[in-house]
């Protein structure tokens, strides 16, 4: 858990420090955030999904890692294809991942609440 948080902080620092953005051509600088945002959304969804799976005892590292990276690339790709077709497909990704993030959060919350109540009742 702490290892993950530490890695997250290191990654953040790297991302903020790297001078890569200014090097990119102007039109790429403009387009990059559209896809990067969706990739981040997909990554957060995968992470929350892993947390939930962990809580429910169905966690699988292979599933988590493959889901994490494939969803990230897929979300960005869908948005890109949508831009090529002039259809706002990124909306579909946003809605799907957003819904799943809330579902996962809700599941995690319920499980945590249940456990907390169990602990309280046991102690009490």
């Amino acid at each position: 858990m702490w290892l993950g948080l530490l890695a997250l902080l290191i990654g953040l620092a790297l991302g903020l420090w790297l001078p890569s953005v200014a090097i990119l051509p102007a039109n790429m600088q403009q387009q990059l955030p559209n896809y990067l945002g969706l990739a981040i959304l997909a990554a957060i969804d995968a992470t929350l999904g892993a947390w939930r799976a962990n809580m429910e005892g169905t966690y699988d590292t292979g599933v988590f890692l493959s889901g994490f990276f494939v969803n990230m690339v897929a979300a960005a790709s869908i948005a890109y294809i949508g831009d090529l077709l002039n259809v706002n497909l990124s909306l579909a990704a946003i809605v799907a991942f957003g819904t799943r993030i809330f579902n996962n959060l809700a599941a995690v919350r319920r499980i945590m609440l249940q456990r907390w109540r169990q602990r309280v009742s046991r102690v009490g």
Binding site: L6, L8, G11, V21, Q29, L36, A43, A50, L65, F69
Partner: protein, 248 residues
């Protein structure tokens, strides 16, 4: 907390690094855009900037060109004042030569008319002033340096024809009748001497009984051409070298 396997630790590190990197990049990119461009319509702004720079460059060139023109004009003005005056003077001279202006100056007036009594019985027309007489008079006056000539107020210019139509004389297509009065501007003495030459035109006319009088005047007025002849065919020749001549 459950015991974590090495796989799980690796996954966590990998996922954490990736997610952090992405979020960091995203924040940085957006921040960079906001700080530099303000809006997301970067392409439009860049294009507009380039176009404006081009325009500025073009306008600078135009300013240079116009400045050059101004200095050229100023130089031309300094030189041109004298040129304009010279041109105006030349134009005036040419207008006088072309008979486009009424002119006055010292000269002579030649008065002549048909003989009062008929000439010799062999040639009844000998006492009459002919077109050729007038032509010879004009020719003599010109040869003596007359600058402007008129016959009965008809200005004689380069296109003027003096000829006989029936028993009348036309000058510039206008019929004139005796007495004839030739006004000529030029040196009065020279003109008179030329006409009074021994066996000259006056002597010949007098011999035929035609009355001729010559008046020297300090102020002779010669009218302008009544009708300006049309120029339809003659054009200035660009190349001065070619001279048409019939080869035989």
């Amino acid at each position: 907390m459950k015991q974590q396997t090495n796989d799980q630790k690796l996954a966590m590190i990998l996922v954490g690094l990736t997610l952090g990197l992405l979020i960091g990049l995203q924040v940085r990119t957006l921040g960079f855009q906001r700080s530099v461009m303000g809006t997301s319509r970067v392409n439009v702004l860049i294009e507009r900037l380039l176009r404006t720079q081009d325009e500025v460059e073009r306008m600078r060139e135009e300013v240079d060109k116009l400045r050059q023109q101004i200095s050229d004009y100023e130089k031309a003005m300094a030189e041109g004042k004298a040129a304009t005056q010279r041109m105006a003077a030349e134009l005036n001279n040419l207008r006088i030569l072309a008979g486009l202006t009424k002119v006055r100056g010292p000269g002579v007036i030649v008065w002549l008319t048909d003989a009062p009594k008929q000439g010799s019985p062999e040639d009844p027309s000998s006492g009459i002033v002919h077109d050729t007489d007038l032509l010879i008079l004009v020719n003599e006056l010109r040869n003596a340096g007359a600058e402007a000539i008129a016959i009965n107020n008809q200005r004689v210019v380069s296109t003027t024809a003096i000829r006989c139509v029936g028993n009348l004389i036309t000058v510039n297509g206008v019929t004139i009748s005796p007495p004839y009065e030739l006004s000529a501007i030029g040196d009065p003495n020279k003109l008179k001497e030329a006409l009074m030459m021994p066996s000259g035109i006056i002597e010949q006319l007098s011999a035929l009984g035609i009355p001729v009088k010559i008046y020297q005047r300090q102020d002779v007025i010669v009218p302008s051409l009544s009708v300006t002849p049309k120029l339809e065919l003659a054009r200035p020749s660009e190349k001065g070298a070619g001279i048409s001549r019939i080869q035989e």
